[in-house]
Symmetry: C2
């Protein structure tokens, strides 16, 4: 049965606030593909298995004339994101049938069943010595978690984890980034305060060892930090009110690691922060980063360090997997609103 459906999820229009399923992005199954005959022109044919749904995707749903770190989605074309696929045919000598491929930014996995790639530019063949499930490579071992290397780098850079560094605060703690940061901080012996947006997620924060956990929708971040702070490290995935609370609760020489600010992604005016004067009055540092600027530098050490910890269960992780490209649009909205249960993954197809 070489002629099969090639379902796609298309970017259809630029949203104002939250993306609207069926309007911002649409599921489309009008295409077919002859997987045995389609011309590869020296490239290879990839069957998409699993796709990552991440907060940063909202930033790509913009007017393409606005420059940013990740390219804008193109109206009428399939979405792209990190993902894992398997090679079903190849004319490229560096890639063979059965290879599993992970994609980095820009030239990554399309939201469709099949895609033809020219070469491995911005893609990599996954080495899987511990036989981990493939979705692991877009969950705990996926793009977001490679952020941990930045954590590590910061830690080493100026001896942050001196005896004076005692307390870390992590927002979006149940997400793939936050949950890994929490576990690394606990390995370093820090007291960890962590927040999330549902009771389920707060339970997970306890499971992974955070010392102080709370639901920011029912407890005020500033109240928790007043009681449990001051904080020496703030890992920011949220911005806005959480960042304001963290600035007020920061210790002298506190370090803020700016990984994301989801509170502002769906607000065209941005979310104001009014107490930045803490940066100088407390001699704080803030460092922002984007994983794809560091990925090539850190990928090898990242997999070597983290894969065995994941395989042995020392690092815990949690995914919410939904089935089929039909679910992409709703899942994107859930991630923006924080109503997903854990790291969001679309299982597109079995091998």
């Amino acid at each position: 049965m070489p002629v099969v459906n090639n379902a796609r999820v298309l970017f259809s229009s630029i949203p104002e606030g939250y993306p609207v399923p069926g309007k911002t992005t649409t599921y489309n199954d009008s295409q077919t593909i002859d997987t045995a005959q389609v011309s590869l022109n020296g490239g290879f044919l990839l069957k998409i298995l699993d796709l990552s749904i991440d907060p940063y995707m909202r930033g790509r749903m913009r007017d393409p004339s606005v420059k940013s770190y990740a390219e804008a989605f193109e109206v009428g074309k399939p979405l792209t994101s990190h993902g894992v696929g398997v090679v079903v045919r190849s004319e490229n000598p560096t890639v063979k049938k059965g290879d599993h491929i992970y994609g980095i930014l820009d030239y990554i996995e399309e939201h469709q069943n099949y895609v033809i790639k020219e070469d491995l530019r911005d893609l990599q063949v996954i080495q899987n010595p511990y036989n981990l499930p493939w979705p692991t490579f877009i969950g705990v071992l996926g793009m977001p978690d490679q952020f941990h290397l930045m954590y590590d780098r910061l830690r080493g850079m100026e001896g942050v984890l001196s005896s004076k560094t005692k307390t870390a605060f992590v927002t979006a703690g149940a997400g793939p980034v936050g949950s890994l940061v929490i576990q690394l901080a606990k390995m370093d012996g820090l007291k960890v305060i962590a927040s999330a947006g549902s009771e389920d997620k707060v339970e997970f924060l306890k499971d992974i060892g955070a010392d102080v956990v709370f639901n920011y929708k029912t407890s005020k971040t500033s109240d928790v930090l007043s009681k449990e702070g001051p904080i020496d490290i703030y890992w920011d995935n949220v911005g806005g009110e959480s960042l304001e609370a963290a600035l007020n609760a920061a210790n002298i020489y506190g370090r803020f690691i700016e990984c994301g600010m989801i509170s502002g992604y769906n607000n065209p005016n941005g979310v104001p922060v009014r107490n930045l004067s803490n940066i100088f009055s407390k001699s704080l540092s803030m460092n922002g980063f984007i994983v794809h600027r560091l990925q090539k530098k850190y990928a090898t050490i990242f997999y070597e360090f983290l894969s065995p910890l994941v395989a042995s269960g020392k690092i815990k992780h949690k995914e919410e997997v939904r089935q089929g490209l039909e679910e992409v649009s709703d899942f994107i909205l859930a991630v923006q609103k924080g109503t997903n249960k854990a790291k969001a993954i679309i299982h597109v197809a079995d091998e």
Copy 2:
């Protein structure tokens, strides 16, 4: 004539917005002092010569229950700030008559004619090998300028001034901090964009070599930076709108040095910044600092490096000197509003 007036400037009430001369602070000449007879209890008697009026003083006019880097002024007591005095009598063996004394934060020069000090805690005897005028030590060589060491430190820390660092933007460029930073940046071969709030000040920015100068009250910062940027270093004395413009105009890996945010000092609600997402999307760093945390570490190298450059005229500087403690309250307001002409100094008395 040993019995003389001891005029004082008292902190009288906590202001809401801008300080109000005669209400927030009041001039009071009801005291006298017998300079020949007053008991020193092993300390020394200092005659105040020159006092510094600085933006940060607004932050000390607060409810003392609110903690911050500089202690709150006490209602009913004289203001304090950096300054220079001369010893007129001493019972302390480490201090002799005729010594000139400079004060660091907390235990610094009172806004009154005479003050008795117990010891040199947080004070230092000024070494003046180049016979510079005493006000120089609270102007270009005063507290604010010691910030340059932080600039230097940042510069060295990660090779900021690599070949990729081309453009710096400095706000409050005509002030003692900004004007020194501009001149140091020019020594390093950078293109310097600088802003100030009056035509006189903008003229001074030209005099000291800034490449692009503008009055932020008549030109929009964001327009200037769009044309002249992107910027690799932002030296922030202002916060608010200037900081937002700098975030939008920053280059990837830009460095923000957070020295002050005067735009918010007189606004009880703070000034919002809405585009902090640039910190992660552009991998920016922001470092805040307060001079008194570094002063002891850097004071010697600072004076050794800068004094000859000032003495030879290689580093230019400008002060606005007003005469007498009666002028303190108005001058404080002028500095908060930016209507002063240059670094604000009160000449209290001749030797």
